[in-house]
Amino acid sequence: MTQLRTLSDRSEIRALIVRYSNALDARRFEWLDEIFTHDAWIDYRATGGIAARYPAVRNWLPPAVTVFPHMCHLIGNISITLAGDSASARTLCLNPVEVPLPPGGSQIMFLGMWYRDALLRTAHGWRMKERVQESCFQHNVPANLRVPATPA
């Protein structure tokens, strides 16, 4: 039988991964301070973003994301590997984004990606110390938007 400690760790890490999606989708960027370590490494290059330490990403996100009137980051397939006070996880994300079009109106594009995360147990609970995007599919991306092509 799985031990209570392991069930608790898995539950808390899943909640942290969901919390990240909710922080972005509700545009509550300050919640990210409770998700990442101060020096976390974040790599959004697979979907056209930046790669940097958390403070730089925290500043980059609000203007980069508020361009989009609606979006959500639906996650699933969370696979967690625990190793004492460290953990790693791989999570699938289905990400519909409403993109404004130059002549007016908007279009929904669908991005599929994985998050490869490294996590750390701290005095305040589990935190992400690394999040690297790995691209899967892109559907219905407007011509005016640049998203890097998915490597074959």
């Binding site: 608790s8 539950s11 969901v18 009137p69 609606h70 984004v97």
Partner: protein
């Protein structure tokens, strides 16, 4: 470390949220009697539905959803806040709907929404006492369908 009680509460509430989707998608309306409290408040207005107490909404659902040959309500991102015998949750739902077209044939539209829920622990387990929809995205909605803009 989470207690067994908290892990159990979270697992039961997650199951309740999934059971709602399965009852709706299987058109098993009586299954909802085990999901909602008898006087639960439900608000579907964000996607063009009604709001009201559970008995009124249950009676509305069958005819309203009978227009759609196929649909599903895939949920995820369930964020639960426990508070003793009460709880609240926010859940994301991706909802593809097969929509008949006036000229014949059909078209699948994709709706994205959140459920903002309240729960209460009863002698028969956790029940939903409030469910309020919040719109996110709408994709491929047929021109003849009127859905409020998110």
């Amino acid at each position: 470390m989470l207690s067994l009680q908290e892990l159990s509460d979270r697992a039961e509430i997650e199951q309740l949220i999934v059971r709602y989707s399965n009852s709706i998608d299987q058109r098993h309306w009586d299954g909802l009697d085990e999901v909602f409290t008898p006087d639960a408040y439900i608000d579907y207005r964000a996607l063009g539905g009604i709001d009201g107490r559970y008995p009124q909404v249950k009676a509305w659902l069958g005819p309203a959803l009978g227009n759609f040959p196929h649909y599903c309500h895939m949920v995820g991102n369930i964020e639960i806040t426990l508070n003793g015998d009460r709880a609240s949750a926010r859940t994301l739902c991706i909802n593809p709907m097969d929509t008949p077209l006036p000229g014949g044939g059909s078209q699948v539209m994709f709706l994205g929404l959140w459920y903002n829920d309240q729960f209460v622990r009863t002698p028969r387990g956790w029940r939903m006492s409030e469910r309020i929809e919040e719109g996110c995205f709408q994709h491929n909605v047929p021109a003849h369908m009127a859905i409020p803009a998110a």
